[in-house]
């Protein structure tokens, strides 16, 4: 890739800024989801799909992906500038998260030429929504034990079994699927294969599951003699575990190459600080309570530390002892902070913490409680915090497997 001419970059950033200023719709007249995991209505879905398409067409998504596959062919700094502009103008989230953040980068890295040509552009344009079929009712954290079967028949595999917690399952045209092609291997991992699987095919049924917030967002996905084309294999048959692990690195942000934008807009410590500043209790600003103030300072220190951690990873000398430490621990640190922070926000609202979304007397329409409940999506999805702690303990600190 070419080097960055600062003048080009500045001009691009300025254009992006102007474009988002003009094109962001702050209030579509209905509530938008906070994350891609909470797309529960067709209205939300179509709005967000159109938005992603528009951003991509304007050149502000996939700017650093190759031109041949629908990208902009520019250095990463351009996409980063576009994402910053998007955030500054509070653009809605990118819908096709699994596509742009992990299935796409994975296909770019490990896919065949035909797969790249077939899938990447549709990921960016949001024409093809992607979902992920890893977890099963009986096997979540222990993904290596997945039992959904895929049996080879000529140019395709026949799939039977069920996946669960399938985010965007109702809307997806494709799934990244981890299935067992050989149940007889000595190591359970060696019997798994990784497929790019069409979802709009006979034998696939998606059943919505209601979330703790009362909304919808994921499904259980049933396969009954569904066909997976053999040319949709990523890596060799029996080599799916390695591909799945690579996918998780992209998903958890431990590896770069994502198309850009953001896929969640959870409140951060500064938003909660803003809430604290406008909250009164007993006729006094709540921040005059030293216990509340101390907790708030703690969160501001923590969010600042996470920002600084990110900056420090750019200084090799300052991460020399454990170069993978901060990247591998960042999901754990970020999601756990977010959960605790939203809990704190609910407590800040005092007696009104008892209200929920749409109650006119609730603080901020009751969104803090919803934020808090939704925060668990990130401490559970993508590998639970406990599993993340195992990963950091084992791969960063060198402790033996549990």
């Amino acid at each position: 890739m070419s080097t960055v001419d600062p003048k080009d970059l500045a001009a691009f950033a300025e254009q992006a800024d102007a474009w988002f200023a003009e094109n962001v719709v702050r209030d579509p007249g209905f509530m938008l989801p906070l994350t891609f995991m909470e797309v529960g209505t067709d209205k939300q879905f179509h709005f967000l799909r159109d938005w992603q398409n528009k951003v991509w067409e304007a050149g502000y998504l996939g700017a650093a992906w190759p031109k041949a596959y629908g990208g902009g062919g520019l250095p990463q700094a351009f996409q980063s500038a576009a994402t910053r502009a998007m955030r500054k103008h509070h653009g809605p989230i990118m819908l096709n998260a699994i596509g742009i953040n992990w299935a796409g980068p994975l296909i770019l890295e490990m896919g065949t030429e035909a797969q790249k040509a077939a899938y990447l552009k549709g990921i960016l344009s949001a024409e093809d929504i992607w979902c992920q079929g890893f977890s099963e009712p009986g096997h979540g954290s222990d993904l290596g034990s997945a039992q959904t079967r895929a049996v080879r028949h000529g140019d395709h595999y026949v799939v039977n079994g069920s996946k669960i917690w399938t985010t965007l399952g109702r809307y997806a045209r494709y799934m990244i699927l981890l299935a067992r092609t050989d149940p007889s291997t000595e190591r359970k991992y060696d019997g798994l294969s990784f497929f790019l699987m069409p979802m709009k095919a006979p034998g696939i049924e998606t059943v919505p599951i209601r979330k703790l917030t009362g909304e919808h967002g994921f499904t259980q996905t049933f396969f009954t003699d569904a066909k997976a084309p053999a040319d949709g294999l990523v890596g060799p048959e029996g080599g799916g575990w390695k591909v799945a692990m690579r996918t998780l690195e992209y998903e958890r942000g431990a590896r770069g190459g994502q198309a850009g934008g953001y896929v969640s807009v959870g409140a951060n410590a500064f938003d909660v600080f803003d809430l604290a500043r406008r909250t009164q209790r007993g006729g006094q600003p709540v921040l005059e309570d030293p216990l509340v103030a101390d907790e708030m300072v703690g969160f501001l220190m923590e969010i600042q530390a996470l920002t600084l951690n990110g900056q420090r990873t750019q200084v090799p000398e300052l991460v020399a002892d454990r170069p993978q430490g901060i990247p591998l621990a960042s999901k754990l640190m970020g999601t756990e902070m977010s959960r605790r922070l939203n809990d704190f926000a609910v407590r800040l609202t005092g007696a009104r913490g008892a209200y929920y979304v749409d109650e006119p007397d609730a603080v901020d329409n009751g969104l803090w409680a919803r934020n808090y409940l939704n925060a668990f999506s990130a401490t559970i999805g993508g590998g639970t915090s406990q599993i993340q702690a195992n990963i950091v303990g084992e791969h960063v600190l060198g402790l033996p497997k549990s």
């Binding site: 921040l287 708030m296 600084l308 621990a329 406990q386």
Partner: protein, 374 residues
């Protein structure tokens, strides 16, 4: 929201970090640390001389006064590596005394004393008092103008690090109702004025200093107009360097504990495989990384009005939390051995407590931050 600081890292910082990591590891193995704990002086004069030769004592002293003209940002990696090796000696005290002169000394004082400090004469600062208030301008030790333009001092300073080795002492007193700083030499002190204190961190030499009966010429007074600002500067500089020592110590303490968790076996399993130990170690580690990020932000932003203070207080508060937690768990995770003198966990735990007690603990700085940020 105010600017909370950011990471920046100079080539000088990088070079010093590399040299210090190697030097401190070689010169301060734990056996040496333990031997020096039993030694009255408490540090190795040969190592001290080597630090002088390396130019470390002049890092933050302007070139005009014999230093290399860098700043405290460049001192931070040195102190971090010293803390990592539990190193003893008056390096931080001497650096802070130089800071007092740079920020608040007269031209004549700078010319006379800074080149000596840069060349390796030990010095120290005496701020704390028996009321144990961490506010830098709460001072009751006094100076009074007497006959022949001499100053008579009275009162007592406590927890004065390295006063025994110091050839120069910068002492905070109250003069004419305002804070002031006075420079003393050992010759100014009557016999018995210094008493070695028994302190929790046995790698450290700390003293109580009785000022009653001490008189000095008025030219020992640092610039009176800048005394308040200098005390504020010293408070922040001391906290910055304390945070550096603590972050280094936290890293070492975690590594030390991990070694045990990777080798000790119980119930037929290496104990580090138990999540009851593994997950708290991950907590300790993530708190360490956060504290280190705060530290290098504070180092980089130290001279920025407003942001510097926020970043330093965050760094000290984060370091206190991280070090205390890592060292506390280190004792527990070593089992019976953790309860012994021979286990290094106690060395780290004691050093963390020492630093929390000096210049403000986490709660103190968080309270200050609430006032700065809200």
């Amino acid at each position: 929201m105010k600017d909370l600081g950011r990471i920046g890292f100079s080539e000088d910082q990088a070079a010093l970090l590399e040299v210090a990591a190697d030097f401190c590891q070689r010169r301060s193995p734990v056996a040496t640390v333990r031997r020096l704990m039993e030694d009255e002086l408490g540090h190795d004069p040969a190592v001290w001389a080597e630090m002088g030769d390396l130019g470390w004592l002049g890092v933050a002293i302007p070139e005009a006064f014999g230093g290399s003209g860098l700043g405290l940002a460049e001192v931070v990696p040195l102190v971090e590596q010293m803390g990592r090796r539990l190193m003893a000696g008056p390096f931080v005290s001497t650096t802070l005394a130089a800071q007092a002169l740079i920020a608040g000394g007269t031209e004549a004082q700078k010319l006379e004393h800074l080149p000596r400090l840069a060349a390796g004469e030990a010095a120290a600062i005496a701020l704390g008092e028996p009321d144990t208030d961490w506010e830098p301008d709460t001072i009751s030790a006094a100076a009074r103008r007497g006959d022949g333009g001499r100053l008579s001092l009275s009162g007592r300073k406590i927890l004065v690090s390295d006063a025994g080795a110091a050839r120069r002492l910068i002492v905070a007193v109250r003069l004419d109702g305002a804070p002031a700083l006075v420079l003393l030499t050992p010759e100014d002190l009557p016999a018995g004025a210094l008493r070695r204190e028994t302190v929790i961190d046995e790698t450290r030499r700390s003293f109580s200093l009785t000022l009653d009966g001490v008189t000095v010429a008025e030219d020992r007074l640092l610039d009176p107009d800048r005394a308040g600002a200098t005390l504020e500067h010293l408070h922040l500089a001391a906290n910055l360097l304390a945070a550096a020592d603590m972050v280094g110590g936290t890293q070492a303490c975690i590594d030390y504990t991990l070694d045990y968790l990777r080798t000790r076996t119980q119930f037929g399993k290496v104990i580090g495989s138990y999540q009851a130990l593994k997950h708290p170690m991950v907590d300790a580690y993530t708190r360490y990384e956060q504290a280190r990020s705060h530290l290098y932000s504070a180092a980089h932003c130290f001279n920025e009005q407003g942001t510097g203070e926020i970043a330093v207080r965050m760094a000290k508060a984060a370091a206190d939390g991280a070090y205390s937690f890592a060292a506390d768990r280190s004792i527990q995770f070593h089992g019976g051995f953790g309860f012994t003198w021979d286990c290094d966990a106690q060395l780290y735990r004691r050093r963390a407590i020492w630093h929390a007690a000096q210049f403000g603990d986490a709660a103190f700085h968080r309270k200050k931050l609430a006032r700065l940020l809200f």
